[in-house]
Amino acid sequence: MDEKNNILSKFESLKKNNPYKVPEDYFNTLLPRIQEKIEADKKRTGIAWVFSFNPVVKLSFLVVGIVFIAVISFKILKPFWSSNHNSNSSIDEIVLYLDNQVYSIDDFTLLSVFETNKDASNIKSSNQNDTINYLLNNDIGIEDIISEL
């Protein structure tokens, strides 16, 4: 593989004269353009950085995201659920309270606390069951009664 005695030895002068040219000042303006490209790439990284990961990593991010959304949803919706689930216990609480704590207060007195409600006047002479029904139908809990009394 003689590299000297071949056609290229005739073209030694070609090596010295570069036939390719560049625009004037090209190399002097190159560095700032490269720096701009790097800055642009840093800004673009963001979400794209996540999608550049391998599938296992992407899947992990997805699972973490779903769990996070589920936890947040649970925390937001929990009060709505607990009010329904606790409806039976709130009835018991109201009955217990009325039996043991408020026995000295008659129905009328109790209902007069909620005098703005037109239904209250209809059941002012009613029995305990009606009182309880009224409180439940109007979503009035123990705390409401206590705060009014």
């Binding site: 593989m1 590299e3 071949n6 056609i7 290229l8 073209f11 070609l14 090596k15 004269n17 570069n18 036939p19 390719y20 040219k21 560049v22 625009p23 090209y26 190399f27 190159l30 560095l31 353009r33 490269i34 720096q35 490209k37 790097i38 790439d41």
Partner: protein, 182 residues
């Protein structure tokens, strides 16, 4: 201005306070060599400019993880070479061009490129090179124009020295044949 060697430039880059300074010095040191390497492969100046910028972007992104298994210079060349090969492959797939037609496209670029200022002999040599398979053309460029030692070329192209020597020998034969037949 202080002249730093590659190790010192790399250390400047690793230090977050001098990272940009170190990187800028690296760009200034290697920009022309890398540019001409790319330009000889893709012919067109605008394409070479894009690929050179992409090369330095990848250097910026990956230099922190550079393990020093080769010289910085070799690693930079490898990135630039891969950029060229990816670019040429994309040209093929994007335009559904068979192998020979990409080279025809580059030949046409040579004829019409305002930034090619060679005489007829130089143009003929460039066309002869465009008739070489891509990898062979790479070897030829690195050996003939850049006079890169085979040992170094072996690290850039990750091919054995023997294979590179054979590739260069075949490239020269093909160029000779091109000139004889034309």
């Amino acid at each position: 201005m202080t002249e730093y060697n590659d190790k010192e430039l790399f250390d400047l880059f690793l230090n977050t306070e001098t990272r940009h300074y170190g990187f800028n010095l690296l760009v200034n040191k290697y920009k022309e060599r890398l540019y001409w390497h790319i330009r000889r492969m893709v012919i067109n100046h605008d394409d070479a400019d894009d690929l050179l910028q992409n090369t330095f972007l990848k250097i910026w992104q990956g230099l922190e993880r550079f393990r020093g298994e080769s010289s910085l210079y070799t690693w930079f060349y490898r990135i630039a070479t891969n950029e060229c090969i990816s670019f040429l492959n994309k040209q093929r797939t994007r335009f559904f061009l068979p192998l020979a037609d990409v080279e025809k496209k580059l030949e046409h670029s040579l004829e019409t490129d305002p930034w090619f200022d060679g005489n007829e002999l130089q143009k003929k040599l460039q066309k002869a090179m465009l008739n070489l398979p891509e990898k062979q053309r790479l070897v030829f460029n690195l050996r003939y124009f850049e006079e890169m030692p085979y040992e170094e070329m072996s690290k850039v192209l990750q091919t054995s020295e023997g294979a590179l020597k054979a590739s260069y020998h075949h490239a020269v034969k093909k160029i000779e044949k091109y000139f004889e037949s034309d």
